[in-house]
């Protein structure tokens, strides 16, 4: 059901470049760089993790309206557990590619691996 609040929990990611002249290349991630996972809550960055440098698995617990447990392993990250109503975050599973993201909107938490697929501008879901 459509519910109030779903629309408001909006993260407006704005990539506004100065000019739109043909030939100007907009930002692209360096494909050779490290995979950096960013965890945000209430649109504030909580943690940035270089996934390529993770040695031991780490669990990060986020409190708020609900409790999320995020599991970090070398090269990947996921919502492992959550007591939120819809569990969309946990269902999303592992994130291991640039540009992929998972969110627990009830708890206003977003995990995103920075950069993005070099060939793809956006994805459906």
């Amino acid at each position: 059901m459509l519910k109030k609040g779903d629309f408001l929990l909006v993260i407006l990611i704005l990539a506004a470049t100065v000019a739109a002249f043909a030939g100007i290349r907009y930002f692209k991630n360096d494909a050779g760089g490290h995979k950096i996972a960013v965890i945000k809550q209430d649109n504030k960055v909580i943690r940035e993790i270089d996934l390529d440098r993770v040695e031991e698995p780490e669990r990060i617990t986020l409190t708020g309206k609900y409790n999320n447990k995020i599991l970090v392993e070398k090269g990947r990250i996921r919502f492992e557990e959550s007591d939120c109503p819809d569990l969309v975050c946990v269902h999303t599973g592992w994130l291991d590619e640039r540009g992929s993201s998972a969110a627990c909107l009830p708890n206003k938490v977003v995990v995103v691996i920075q950069g993005g697929n070099n060939e793809v501008d956006a994805g459906t879901y």
Binding site: A20, A122, T124
Partner: protein, 314 residues
């Protein structure tokens, strides 16, 4: 069905910042009007007054309801916004999803009939004919919001933009460098951001529906959020995902749900009968089918989608 949630706006040009801000405001405004909640959106009023009296509606609501009826007729009821009572009973995507009893489903099914949604465009009113009937715009409102986002961007002089509204991708113009926008189509059995393939477009909406978006598991069964208005149960048409590419997002949104419910054969027939609409279908036996017009545009990610087979000739 839940409204999507994360909105990404990539706008390029002089007023990009301001324009994106206005997009956000416009979408918040639409939420107030179109969502079902307990605090009295216009659609709540319509539902509350079911069987009692017609209610005055904004042109936004009227437009969406008219479109909803259009697609209900086109899909012969496979898409039906009067599905509300069943959406509520299943509660998928909330804290208490449940499998309603067969009797309850049969009872509620009697309330589902788009013909009972009476729209009076001249007087800006609509009316649900019977008590207990409920409209849920989950399969269409997000699409409308996508179109409105593009409209706002255009009005603010933006010629190149991409809006991703909870998985509904709408692009304006081409990329700033003149290339087409490349849109990934979610692999329905892999993690978010893993694509089955891509299509490159300009001035198009690309919308997917699937059993992977919102669901709950009970006794080993996956109950997903796209209910079949004819059975009252999650659609069991043999499809696990559908993607529609169309000129407008509201059309793409309503159609992706429609064809998901209709299944491969009937869904394909419907899409091929419409001008300027293309589709990607993924069946539960992991075959990928596309419409004629997509054959040259769709790029199948063979390497990343080894479980899937791209069927080029049907």
């Amino acid at each position: 069905m839940y409204m999507g949630t994360i909105i990404t706006v990539k706008a390029y040009g002089k007023n990009a910042d301001k324009a994106a801000d206005k997009v956000f405001k416009r979408i918040s405004e639409l939420e107030e009007i179109l969502t079902v909640n307990d605090t009295g959106s216009e659609i709540d009023d319509l539902n509350d007054m079911a069987g009692i009296v017609e209610v005055k509606l904004s042109s936004d609501s009227l437009y969406v309801l008219n479109k909803a009826k259009e697609y209900a007729e086109l899909s012969e009821g496979a898409f039906d916004v009067t599905i509300g009572p069943l959406v509520k009973a299943w509660n998928i995507g909330t804290d208490n999803p449940r499998v309603p009893l067969k009797d309850e489903i049969d009872e509620l099914l009697k309330l589902v009939d788009f013909r009972d949604l009476k729209i009076d465009n001249a007087n800006h009113t609509a009316y649900l004919a019977r008590r207990g009937q409920m409209v849920d715009l989950g399969g269409i409102a997000k699409g409308y919001a996508g179109d409105e986002a593009i409209k706002v961007l255009k009005e603010n002089g933006i010629e190149s933009a991409l809006v991703n509204l909870g998985g509904n991708v709408v692009v304006l113009g081409s990329k700033p460098d003149g290339n087409l926008w490349t849109v990934g189509i979610q692999n329905p059995r892999e993690a978010a951001g893993k694509y089955l393939g891509t299509i490159s477009v300009r001035d198009k909406a690309v919308v997917s529906s699937g059993d992977y978006e919102r669901y709950f598991m009970k006794d080993g069964v996956r109950y997903h959020h796209i209910l079949d208005p004819r059975t009252g149960y999650p659609a069991d048409s043999g499809l696990i995902s559908t993607t529609i590419i169309a000129d407008s997002a509201i059309d793409a949104d309503a159609l992706s749900t429609s064809v998901f419910v209709l299944g491969l054969e009937n869904g394909m027939k419907l899409v091929e009968s419409l001008d300027g609409v293309e589709a990607v279908f993924v069946t539960e036996d992991k075959k990928v089918y596309v419409t004629e017009g997509l054959k040259d545009i769709f790029i199948f990610y063979q390497e990343d989608s080894k479980d899937f087979t791209y069927v080029e000739e049907r």
